[in-house]
Every structure is written in C-alpha cells, then in structure tokens.
Amino acid sequence: MNSYLRLTYRNLRANLDFASLFFELIFPIFFIFVEGPGLGGVAGPVSVGNLTVSYSLYLAAGAVTLTVINGGTNAGTQLWYDRKNGMFEQLLMGPFSRAQYIFSIILATLIIGIAGSLIVFLIALPILGGGLQFSLEGIFFVGAALFLGTLLFGSFAIALSVVLRSSETFQIVSTFVFFVFLFTSSVFYPASKAPKPIQVISYGNPLTWTTDMFRAGLFHSFTPLLSLEVVTLAIVSAIVFGIAVLAFRRIRVQ
C-alpha cells in the first residue's frame, strides 16, 4: 500500500476522537432541525442569489458547512496528539518523510470534513430536499466549497497546533478563533443584511465564501460575486496550506 494511504489510514484510526466526531455531527443537525424551524417563525425568507428561500432552508444549507470547520480542527488535533504522545518523532524515524506525514494529515482531514458534510447533508435531506436543484455546475460549487473549506481550516488548525504547544491553550484558542469565524460568517444570516462592521468582517471571512459557494451549488443560484469567492477561497486556501507546511517544517525536535 502507498505510504500516504498507510499514514492516512493510521491517522483516521489512531487520532480520531469519536466523541468529538459525534458532537461535530450533532451540532449542525441541532441547528438544522431545531434552531432553523424555531427561528423560521420570526425570521422571514432570505435571498440566495436570485432565489428566495425560507430561513430554515437557508440555515440548513449553512449548517452543513459547519462540519467543514469542525473537520478542520481535527487536523490540528491529530498533529497535537502525535506530538504529545511521541508518535510524531516515532513516525519521522520510520519510513516516511515530513511531507508524507503532513499530507496524510490533510488527506485524513479532507476525508473527515467531506464525509461529515455528506452525512449531515443526507440527514438534512427532509428539510433541504425542497430547495435542491441538481446540476453539474452546482456539484462543482458544492465539491469546491467542501474541498477548499476543509483544506483551509485544516491547514489553519495545523499551523495553530504548531505554535500552541499546550493542550489547554490549543483547545481554548482554536475554539475561540473558530467561534469568531462561525458567528461572523453567512452560516446563520446573510452578510448583506448585517450592520456595516459585521458585514465587512463577514465578506472577508473564508467561512462566508465556503457557505455561499455551498448554498449556491445546492440551490443552483449563482451571482457574479460567487466566482470571485471561489477564486479568493482557492488562493487563500493555497496560502494557508503553504503556511501550515512551512510551520510544520519548522517544528524542531530537540
């Protein structure tokens, strides 16, 4: 078996905390089935490109992308556990290069992020089903959103776990940073309707780009801004991935 696959399989088996994974799935499902319908009574319909959808449908689509950011934190956790448990050095004294190791973490993260999103998506079908419009273009946007979003947040978490060596600090900082990403994004509300300062932050938030791409793909409702979001997300993901690789390469073993 290929070295990357062997390492990825090991990462998936050894470093995944199933309790956290369960929570990562429950969290968006809670929004989709409780929060969305609950707030649907007070929040009116919302525009997605040229379409107008109910708030619960809007939130359901956004909540699926929560698994992208949650899956991303797993990348940092994997690296952090390996360093804490001595497996980082052990693997680097084995038949692997640093590049193979870091790519295997990214690969495992992509699998977790994308698989998680698909599971949530399938569970959310009863709510999402009414608004779905399948097209090749839509599938491309959905796929690109899941892939680039997971890559970006996974890489970000890796860089964070390199810098933050204590478990407590990593957990606190990553939770705080991801809450900022989450609540200033278009997951819960459209950026265009938010007050100006929040709107500015939201338009610069990669989770907004990810969520907008995902929604556009699902509902087949594209805007000119969307192409810009795809390109920007791709570039920023590549840059953050580069930073993660550089940060990783600088990990010193004493």
């Binding site: 062997r6 399989y9 090991r10 001595g86 050095e89 052990q90 084995g94």
Partner: protein, 322 residues
C-alpha cells in the same frame, strides 16, 4: 570516505544547540551483528546521538554512515532499515493494544498474514495477552513500555536503536525483554545500539560499550575489559581458624599488588584490596602455611561495570579514545 562495512560509522560527529555542544566530535564504529552499549550520565549526549543517527535531527558537523548509507544524503534509506524504541513514551492513544501493533505493522507495509502471526508471537513473548484488547491509554507505564518495545518488532530491520528500553519494567519483564533482544541478535543477526542507566543490563547484553560524558566519548571497550582496566580494586576476603594474625597481615601488606588490608572487627575476616587477586591468593596460602595458620574460608568479590563506569565518568577528561 565512508566505510560500507560497519552497521554504524561516525567521524567527528557533533551537535550543538545554541553555542553548547551536546555531542562533541564523536567517532566510533558498530559492527554488524553487535550489541553496542552507549552509556553515560544524564545529559551526556546519548539521546542526541541516537536522534542524529536515526535522522531525526541533523548533525551540526561530522560524517556518519548507517548500514552503508550516508546520514546526510540517504536519510530515507536509513529509516527504512532501522527500528527505534525511544526513551520517551510513544503510543497511539485511540487504539487497543493489538490494533496498535497491527497498524504499526501496516505502517511498515508488513503483509497482513505476517502481522497476524507477529501480533500473536509478540503478545505472548512480552506477556501482553491479558491486556491485548485494552486501549493503550488505559495501560500502566510498564505495560505501555512493553507495547512500545514489542511494536518495533512488527517490522523487519537490520539495526535497532534502543534508548533506555526497559525503563518502568519489573525485573522479570526486563529480563524477558533482554533475552528477546539477545535471541534476535543471535538468531537473526540484528545489530543493536543500546543506551541504559542499568549497567547490569549493558553487562548482560553488550559486546562492547562506549562511555560518553559531556558529549565526548571517553572510552570504548568490552564490558570485561572496562571492568578490568577501570574497575576499582577487587577484594579478597579470608578468615583464619586462629582468628587473627598481625604477622600475616603485616607480610601481606608488604606484597606489591596489595593496596590495603583490613580486618572486620565484627566477623573477624580480613579484606585485601588488590587489582590482582590471582597473584595474591597463592601468596596468601604460602604465607599462612609458613606461619602455621589455617585459612577456613576465602572469597573474591568481583568488580562491576558500574565501578568502572563511575570511575571513568568521575575521572573523565573529555578526550576521544578508542
């Protein structure tokens, strides 16, 4: 010019952290099929040397070849042929013992059938059968150490680095582990590079040992030679039927190879400190016979590798000596 023959060859290998040399121009060879001990006090540079030789950290200067591969340019080829048991814990926290062994074997691309066979053999040899279904996070320190050592045998290798592999093991488990290493050397020609603070282990297992202090190797030799050359004087203890004889004590004290003779007031036995007990014993019998005295018991207390180690480390001036 690097020699292809030895399992390990180093020439003036150094590692500096900041301005401080953790390992300072060490040069040595480890022959294939040899168990080579690397002994030194805490902070002497043992683990840093292992980390360099296993390609985990780059040397600051000097050359080395491992199994004929250049340390600087053929790191991956080296890693494919070595095994390492680190001093620190290393385990996959989300796995059970047998799954951990299986996945480690898979990482090394050991075929599935072979993995199954080895898991069964290793759990038995390392006494892990009782807890093979237990998650690694729930193991005691000693159980986890056994797993860490056993796991390394899930793949084939030519050279095994052991950095204090028996820390936390009880004496029974420790002996079983050492015997397992010895079997691997004798039956499969494995080469072992071994560090420990338990010098009886080094004496039991190693063909040769290097003693390192302040990053420099101060001596390399077989344990027997080190004991002979640097061990403290042996003692010959004897008792007389007559109890005491000042005249015998005086005459023994006058012998060339005797450094000291004293009588234990409680037991009444004499203790002669000497580096040549084989010379003293015939003289002792000759003199006692001449004085009409009868020796009722005689005993030689052996010097240990620990004696030699303590003496070398305490008196070491950092000079390379082979």
């Amino acid at each position: 010019m690097l020699l292809p023959d030895p399992a390990i060859y180093t020439a003036e290998l150094s590692k500096r952290f900041g301005g401080k040399a953790a390992v300072d121009s060490v040069s040595f060879e480890v022959r294939r099929g040899e168990v080579f001990g690397f002994l030194g006090p805490n902070g002497a540079g043992k683990t840093t040397t292992i980390k360099m030789l296993t390609t985990l950290i780059p040397p600051s200067s000097g050359d080395a070849s491992i199994l004929g591969f250049d340390l600087h340019s053929q790191a991956k080829k080296i890693r494919e042929r070595i095994g390492v048991v680190q001093q620190q814990d290393s385990f996959d926290q989300g796995l059970k013992v047998d799954t951990s062994l299986d996945i480690y074997g898979l990482l090394w691309d050991t075929p599935q059938e072979e993995r199954r066979k080895r898991i069964s053999e290793l759990t038995e040899r390392f006494g892990m059968e009782e807890y093979r279904r237990k998650p690694t996070v729930d193991l005691s320190a000693g159980q986890r150490r056994r797993l860490q050592v056993a796991r390394e045998f899930m793949h084939d290798m030519d050279l095994l680095f052991l950095d204090e592999p028996t820390v936390g093991l009880d004496p029974i488990a420790r002996r079983a582990v050492l015997n397992f290493f010895r079997d691997k050397v004798q039956k499969e020609g494995l080469t072992i590079f071994f560090t420990t603070h338990i010098l009886e282990e080094a004496e039991y297992l190693c063909d040769r040992v290097a003693i390192i202090n302040y990053g420099k190797i101060i001596q390399i030799d077989s344990p027997a030679n080190l004991k002979r050359r640097f061990g403290s004087a042996k003692a010959v203890e004897f008792k007389l039927l007559e109890g005491t004889s000042d005249e015998l004590a005086r005459q023994i004290a006058g012998l060339d190879s005797v450094t000291k003779i004293a009588q234990d007031q409680e037991t009444g036995s004499y203790r002669i400190s000497t580096i040549k007990p084989e010379v003293i014993i015939p003289d002792l019998y000759r003199l006692s016979e001449k004085l009409g005295l009868k020796i009722t018991s005689i005993y030689i207390s052996e010097t240990s590798l620990e004696d030699a180690f303590v003496s070398l480390v305490n008196n070491s001036t950092p000079e390379v000596s082979n």
